[in-house]
């Protein structure tokens, strides 16, 4: 046995000691994670198989809650509203952000200031954003009155947030206002990573701004675009704040989302087992979407 082996053994034990120290350092995170997230998540799975009012013992009912969920028109209506919400969020904010970022990437003067300005709404609390837009959409003194004063005819007393047909898209558009600048900044930083020589080559080939956007910019930021699509779908399926703050699901259920319905079942109707089945289903749906996208991306699919 030469000195080399002893030395290596010494080094190994130092590395092992370091790794043990590392495991100790993970304890606070793991404790928090188990107490707040893992434990309660498992409890949700359990409660979803029971009939429970929140107090007293939970009654095992097997898959009854899920059967009820699949036969409840209220749930399908809410899911449909989530799909409308998703459709709006996959088009409007992503569209504005893509075009805005492409324009912003082409200018130098004022780029940093504009980036800041566009990003600002994202830092505003949902409660405040809701307040601002509820005031702005007021039929008597909001921006609609401004439109009619410059000659655009607005139907008399149009209450965008109070009509069944317009409430859901209106609330979604309020969320869009808070979101698009955030997406724009993400796209902008991805676009700034595109090799400048690709643009030069495109210009030599005589490409105009639109073709440049299609053939250089979009392919260049494709992974970022996929990421943004995934979080947009996820956030749309889980949306809660704006509906709860602005319309509470009304008028007459026109803006009820799965999350707000779940919240009502759990904390107002105290049908906790049923609400838990809704929470778990919602999570599974959003997980499937996310995993689906990851798999599709791994397979090298592109448009």
């Amino acid at each position: 046995m030469g000195d080399g082996t002893t030395y290596r053994r010494g080094a190994n034990s130092i590395v092992a000691a370091r790794a043990r120290f590392g495991l100790v350092l993970l304890v606070p995170f793991l404790a928090l994670n188990v107490i707040v997230i893992v434990g309660p998540s498992l409890a949700t799975a359990y409660f979803s198989l029971t009939d429970w009012t929140g107090v007293g013992p939970a009654q095992w009912v097997g898959l009854d809650n899920y059967r009820r969920l699949l036969s409840e028109a209220e749930f399908y209506a809410a899911l449909a509203h989530n799909l409308v919400w998703t459709g709006i969020h996959l088009t409007v904010p992503i569209g504005i952000a893509l075009v805005g970022a492409a324009m912003l990437a082409r200018i130098r003067r004022g780029r940093l200031v504009l980036r800041l300005v566009y990003f600002l709404p994202y830092t505003v609390a949902s409660v405040v954003t809701a307040a601002i837009w509820q005031d702005l959409l007021d039929p008597e003194r909001g921006i609609l009155t401004l439109l009619s004063s410059v000659g655009v005819t607005v139907p008399n007393g149009l209450v965008l947030l109070g009509e069944q047909a317009t409430a859901l898209p209106s609330v979604a558009m309020i969320n869009v206002w808070a979101l698009w600048g955030f997406l724009l900044v993400i796209f902008l930083s991805a676009m700034q990573g595109i090799d400048e020589s690709l643009y030069e080559a495109a210009r030599i080939d005589g490409a105009n701004a639109v073709r440049e956007f299609w053939h250089v910019t979009l392919p260049g930021i494709f992974p970022t675009l996929v990421f943004v699509v995934v979080i947009s779908v996820m956030w749309s399926l889980l949306a809660f704040d704006y509906v709860w703050i602005i319309t509470q699901g009304g008028p007459a259920g026109a803006t009820e989302l799965v999350s707000t319905l779940m919240y009502r079942e759990a904390f107002e109707r105290f049908d906790v087992g049923y609400a838990a089945s809704m929470g778990l289903s919602l999570t599974l749906i959003s997980a499937f979407v996310t995993i689906g996208f990851v798999v599709v991306r791994r397979k090298g699919w592109s448009v």
């Binding site: 790794a19 590392g22 949700t44 082409r106 409660v127 601002i132 600048g181 900044v185 889980l238 904390f267």
Partner: protein
Amino acid sequence: MVGLMRRLSRASMGVALAVLALYAMGPLVVLVFNAFKTNTEIASNPLGPPLRPTFGNLAEAWELGNFATTLRNSAILAVGTALGVCIVSYLTAYALARLLRRPTGMVLYLFVSTAVPAQLFIIPVFFFWTRVHLNNSLFGLMLIYWALFTPFGSLLLRAFLVSLPRDIDDAARIDGAGEWAVMTRVILPLARPGLLVVALTTGLFAWNEFFFANTLIDYEELKPISTSLLAFRGQFSRDWGLTSAGCLFMIGPVLVLFLVLQRRFISGLTSGSLRA
């Protein structure tokens, strides 16, 4: 001709960017304007700047909305969340970046954690927290925020720590520093910029958070500004001057901090941002 076209497209681009700026800032500007107008003025001039600025709304809202208390509660939540997340995230990130031999699984776990929706666990959290009297407690709420934001903080700090050269630790170890000293005295000072980003981002998340605050706190004197502002608006919904002033109390501190430290805010908020 080509030159003219280019100039025209430059001009229309400028117009489009200005319209976007108006879309982003207009609503905020109107809010600030209205906070300084009397209701009589708002009725005749709902969107323009105040012609006779008044501080009456701010003073009245401060009293009626109990903002001294709710701002304090939110400040406790934001600072406590930022501190706690920084500490726990630093320990986690340090272990992953410098100590563990096979950290990949744990890193993957952190990524999954950032994507777990609150809807999956909020219901049992409410009933468990109520059982052990952690509802209606700022600490109970903070505990949730720590758990929500440490995966994000750990990933961000880990990326930061991985970028620091290994020689720093080795040199310190050769000089006889123990593992604890390397972590707290050698690497920690270097990690400060990353910690600041984590603190700002999670502090803002906590300040703005609504879902859990709305679920767990119903004592008036413990409400953070997010949920109490909602109640305040419900109470004075037709009094725009007053409610605008209340909103200003909530976004004022954020705007000031954001304008001063915008780069760190933006880099934090756009990095690995799976948690809204």
